[in-house]
């Protein structure tokens, strides 16, 4: 099981690996600008960039380490890992201090267990669906058990008051839904129930600031200095980028610090302002390439578990990217979801790289029996 076969190296998806490398490099270059300080005419490298590089090193090592193990062993490890993630989430709830309204950091703010819970959830769902193939799932009631698997971590994240990440985790779990064979009438019923649930949440479950963030998407001019401020400033930044962009470290919106949380949630606005439509569009295309590649890996996998695992990884990459970019472009409410590989944040980067490791793993073992 351990040890690297020569055939594995031959089948290693070097171009996929390179694509990830290009995105990572672009992310770092962009982060340098987003956190740039002025020091006598030269651009200073901020502590955030240094920490991000360290996280990248850790994530890269973990990613390569997971490649050594045949992914089929992950199926056995899925349940213990999932249980560990749930325990960590519980621990966070009990011992972690509340910061900025939510409570989601362990070890003095160094580790965010909810990031790793996504991996655990994808592993355990891939395992479940491998044993109960999605083609056999024809009734809503068949979704109850996998649904419970998803609800447990999501509920714990909701209890941490981190609604954005909770929603994200739920969406990642939903990546598997297109593959089950449940008739559209049942979906219609689900849709009605979901709408009712959302209406309830809207009236009772959301803090006023969360409600106003949703309203801001509909009408950003509503309150330009409070929550709408972020949306407006982000739009100005992106718009002023034009075709070619203002140039690296020369975006005024960015350097004037008009952009809210520009090194985390709004990092894409920095990219769009400084690199323009060409740069931002290119990054979007690279992202799309990565996702489609992931689906190819899923399709060409030699077994069901590998294929489902790859689908899950695509979900882990797609949903935060889609939510983040939609938010930055003013198409979705402002929820604190980082852009994978670009936003500053150690736990997110490490967990994303580990997920990409899973993808590479499935890809390189597609011919090995």
């Amino acid at each position: 099981m351990l040890g690297v076969d020569r055939r594995l190296l031959q089948n290693f998806a070097w171009s996929l690996f390179a694509l990830v490398g290009v995105l990572l490099a672009a992310g770092i270059v962009n982060l340098i600008s987003a956190t740039a300080t002025y020091g006598g005419g030269t651009i200073g490298i901020s502590d955030e960039v240094r920490r991000q590089l360290v996280s990248m090193g850790i994530g890269g090592c973990l990613m390569l380490a997971t490649l050594l193990v045949d992914y089929r062993h992950f199926e056995r490890l899925a349940l213990p890992f999932y249980a560990l993630c749930v325990l960590l989430l519980l621990a966070t709830l009990v011992i972690a201090p509340v910061t900025r309204g939510s409570q989601s950091w362990l070890m003095g703010g160094r580790i965010q267990p909810s990031e790793f819970a996504k991996l655990g959830l994808v592993l355990v769902l891939a395992r479940y669906l491998h044993r109960n193939p999605p083609g056999e799932i024809r009734r809503l009631r068949d979704l109850i058990r996998p649904g419970l698997l998803a609800i447990l971590p999501v509920g714990l994240i909701v209890a941490q008051r981190d609604l954005g990440v909770a929603l994200l985790t739920l969406l990642i779990a939903s990546t598997f839904l297109p593959f089950v064979r449940i008739p559209w009438k049942s979906w219609a019923l689900v849709a009605v129930l979901a709408l009712a649930g959302l209406a309830t949440l809207w009236s009772f479950g959301l803090e006023p600031y969360q409600r106003s963030r949703i309203l801001d998407v509909v009408d950003p001019g509503r309150d330009p200095l409070a929550s709408g401020y972020q949306v407006i400033q982000s739009r100005i930044a992106i718009g002023s980028g034009g075709l070619l962009g203002a140039g690296w470290t020369d975006g005024t919106q960015t350097q004037l610090r008009f952009l809210p949380t520009q090194h985390t949630d709004f990092v894409f606005s920095v990219l769009a302002e400084e690199w323009g439509f060409l740069g931002a569009g290119l990054v979007l295309c690279l992202y799309l390439g990565l996702l489609v590649w992931g689906l190819f890996v899923a399709r060409n996998s030699k077994d069901g578990f590998g294929s489902l695992l790859a689908v899950g990884v695509v979900g882990i990459l797609f949903w935060p990217a889609a939510l983040n970019i939609a938010m930055v472009l003013g198409l979705a409410p402002v929820i604190g979801v980082p852009l994978p590989l670009f936003s500053y944040g150690g736990s997110a980067l490490v967990s994303t790289l580990v997920a990409l490791g899973f993808l590479l793993n499935v890809s390189m073992r597609r011919y090995v029996f």
Binding site: I137, Y229, G239, S240, L291, R299, L329
Partner: protein
């Protein structure tokens, strides 16, 4: 139903058919989402982007924050205690500073300041956002401002600004009551209460400014403007007006507050000012009329951001000017404790008010001798005389008869040793010792001699001036411990008024009204009768009741060989005086503590008298200035602008 036989499919069975069939649709879905993103990006950057790009090419769009002025704080008659006025400042924009030497030299000439001092205020450029302005001076005179404005073309990178500045009318008169402002701290930013605050924002850090932060804080506005390279505003794109904070009306009587504060100043020029605290409140409803703590600080120094050096000085000052002694200074009550001992003994039926005890000037218990403050003794005294002349021996005996725990029960009944929930931060509870407490604290049983000390308010007893005012208030009002109130009402900008909490009682004391009446008469005697110790608080037209007290700071042995004025200040006794007036139907209680002031009758009583005098003088003449202040327009505050700092 899922076939259990399939539950353990062998590895290598291939991709599930359903997954394979639906994969293209999923891929199409993802592509569709990204197409939407690309189209949106195209719309924002290519179609709508032109206009914005032109502006950004000349670095010209800025969002100015229009800082909202804090709400005024008024006294009960509408007089301003804290208000907000516009202050002009000058800022430098690092990115536009072309020739630092010339700019600092020119600014130095214009402001008549050392260019090097200005450069020091600007600081090191390292590690700073290029487009973030740095404030050099925060409080320019109108002349300076005009000079800067007229030379703006020659000063590239120099921006003048205007922002509201807090002003406390009496300087340090109401320092501890008002508290002070300060930039929000990192740990505060993480708290839920401050969820919608930004870094760099200025908030109330103590006193009323802190407790009523939510009411006083306004809502910042903002303005998007186009500026040229020199920082001149060419055009306003859009603007949101700031909303000033609400106006807060306190129960304080500012004239009384001033009189109380002045009372601590020396009578003779050159003598050191007195230290201590004063609380005046209305025993009928708990309205706090004045609250003073000395030494004080000038909250105005904090309004424009206090410099590190002054702050260090305040924090490290030996006499702790930042501490609010009125609510968090804990002192032995000394003889001001005696009325509670008397009330307890009367209620328990241990003393007959008319029975006399003989005071030979000392009292023996076991092998120790406890002295009365009057060496030659008071002779035969009954309860009334014992309070009027503050005879210690009478109370040694009474205290022993009660025992420490019964005494503690009554002291706690007067809410000593308990927080009063006055709406100010950092209130301390004081201490009422019991035998159980001592056993737990020191692991030793209670000694009879300690009861002797406790019954004249020495020993372990600790009270705050506020607690004394409340407890004497209960003697004055027939037994009710009132809830101290500070907030009368909040007047909203839209004309709405939110009343403060209604007057309420925290409890009633476990002593019958007829016994309280006896104590009250004795307290009247302290001030009004010929041999009373509080004669200095006497007023011409109103009868005053009160009690003096002197509480030891160190044991007598350390200082008894010295003459009174040879004792080092920090070893001198604390002086107490607690008074109320009129004796029946009292309208005001005043508790005064003078730290290291010596005797209560001479050091503290005159301050109380001054406050009482001011109170009753103010009642006689209508307040004309009050009506004028009420008519003043609430909305004439100028807005002011600050560049929105990076967050």
């Amino acid at each position: 139903m899922i076939d259990p036989g399939r539950g353990s499919r062998r590895l290598g069975a291939g991709v599930d058919a359903a997954v394979e069939r639906r994969m293209p649709f999923v891929a199409l879905g993802i592509m569709a989402v990204f197409c939407v993103f690309l189209v949106r990006l195209f719309q924002l950057q290519i179609l709508e982007g032109d206009d914005l790009r032109r502006r950004s090419e000349s670095n010209s769009v800025r969002t100015l924050r229009l800082e909202a002025p804090r709400g005024d704080i008024l006294d009960r008659h509408g007089r301003e205690i804290a208000t907000t006025r516009p202050a002009f400042g000058v800022q430098l924009m690092p990115s536009e500073l072309r020739d630092p030497d010339r700019t600092f030299a020119a600014l130095g000439r214009l402001l008549d300041e050392d260019p090097e001092a200005l450069r020091a205020a600007y600081g090191e450029p390292r590690g700073r956002a290029r487009f973030q302005p740095v404030r050099l001076r925060g409080d320019l005179s109108l002349d300076d401002r005009a000079r800067i404005e007229s030379h703006r073309f020659a000063l590239s990178g120099v921006v003048s600004d205007q922002r509201p500045r807090r002003e406390y009318v009496g300087g340090d008169v109401a320092a501890h009551l008002m508290g002070y402002l300060g930039e929000i701290r990192r740990d505060q930013l993480e708290k839920r209460t401050y969820a919608d605050y930004r870094q760099g924002e200025v908030i109330g850090q103590s006193g009323v400014e802190k407790r009523l932060e939510a009411d006083l804080r306004g809502r910042d506005g903002g303005r998007n403007v186009v500026v040229n390279v020199a920082g001149r505003v060419l055009e306003t794109i859009d603007e949101i007006e700031p909303e000033p904070g609400h106006r807060v009306v306190l129960t304080i009587d500012f004239e009384l507050q001033k009189a109380a504060s002045l009372g601590f100043l020396p009578d003779v020029l050159g003598e050191p000012a007195k230290m201590g605290a004063l609380v005046a409140l209305d025993p009928r409803n708990g309205d706090v009329l004045a609250l003073v703590s000395r030494p004080a600080f000038d909250p105005n120094a904090f309004a424009g951001g206090i410099d590190a050096e002054s702050w260090e000085r305040l924090v490290n000052d030996e006499w702790q000017p930042l501490q609010n002694r009125a609510i968090s200074g804990q002192y032995p009550p000394g003889s001001t404790y005696k009325p509670f001992v008397a009330a307890a003994a009367l209620q328990e039926g241990l003393i007959d008010p008319d029975t006399r005890e003989f005071c030979p000037g000392h009292f023996r218990l076991g092998r120790r001798t406890y002295r009365c403050w009057k060496k030659e003794g008071h002779g035969a005294v009954n309860m009334h005389v014992a309070i009027v002349r503050s005879c210690d021996v009478y109370f040694y005996k009474t205290g022993l008869a009660l025992g420490v725990d019964r005494l503690a029960f009554f002291a706690r009944g007067f809410h000593l040793g308990r927080l009063s929930d006055v709406p100010l931060p950092q209130e301390k509870p004081g201490l009422v010792p019991t035998s159980w407490w001592k056993e737990r604290r020191f692991g030793e049983p209670w000694q009879g001699g300690e009861t002797v000390s406790v019954s004249i308010g020495q020993g372990f007893n600790l009270v705050t001036p506020l607690q004394m005012a409340l407890a004497y208030g209960a003697i004055a009002n027939g037994g009710r411990i009132v809830q101290p109130r500070l907030l009368l009402r909040v007047e909203h900008r839209d004309g709405g008024v939110v009343e403060g909490p209604a007057p309420a009682d925290r409890g009633s004391v476990p002593v019958d009204p007829e016994h309280l009446l006896r104590v009250r008469q004795a307290l009247r005697g302290v001030v009004q009768e010929p041999h009373g110790t509080g004669g200095r608080a006497r007023l011409p037209d109103v009868e005053v009741a009160g009690k003096t007290g002197t509480s030891q700071v160190v044991r007598l042995e350390h200082t008894e060989h010295l003459e009174e004025d040879e004792v080092p200040i920090r070893y001198r006794d604390h002086a107490w005086f607690v008074a109320f007036a009129p004796v029946e139907e009292a309208e005001i209680v005043v508790a005064v503590l003078v730290e290291h002031g010596g005797h209560g009758g001479s050091a503290a009583a005159p301050i109380a008298r001054r406050v009482l005098e001011t109170y009753f003088a103010g009642k006689q003449q209508p307040l004309i200035e009050t009506d004028l202040a009420m008519l003043a327009s609430p909305s004439d505050h100028a807005h002011h602008e600050v560049l929105l700092a990076g967050r």
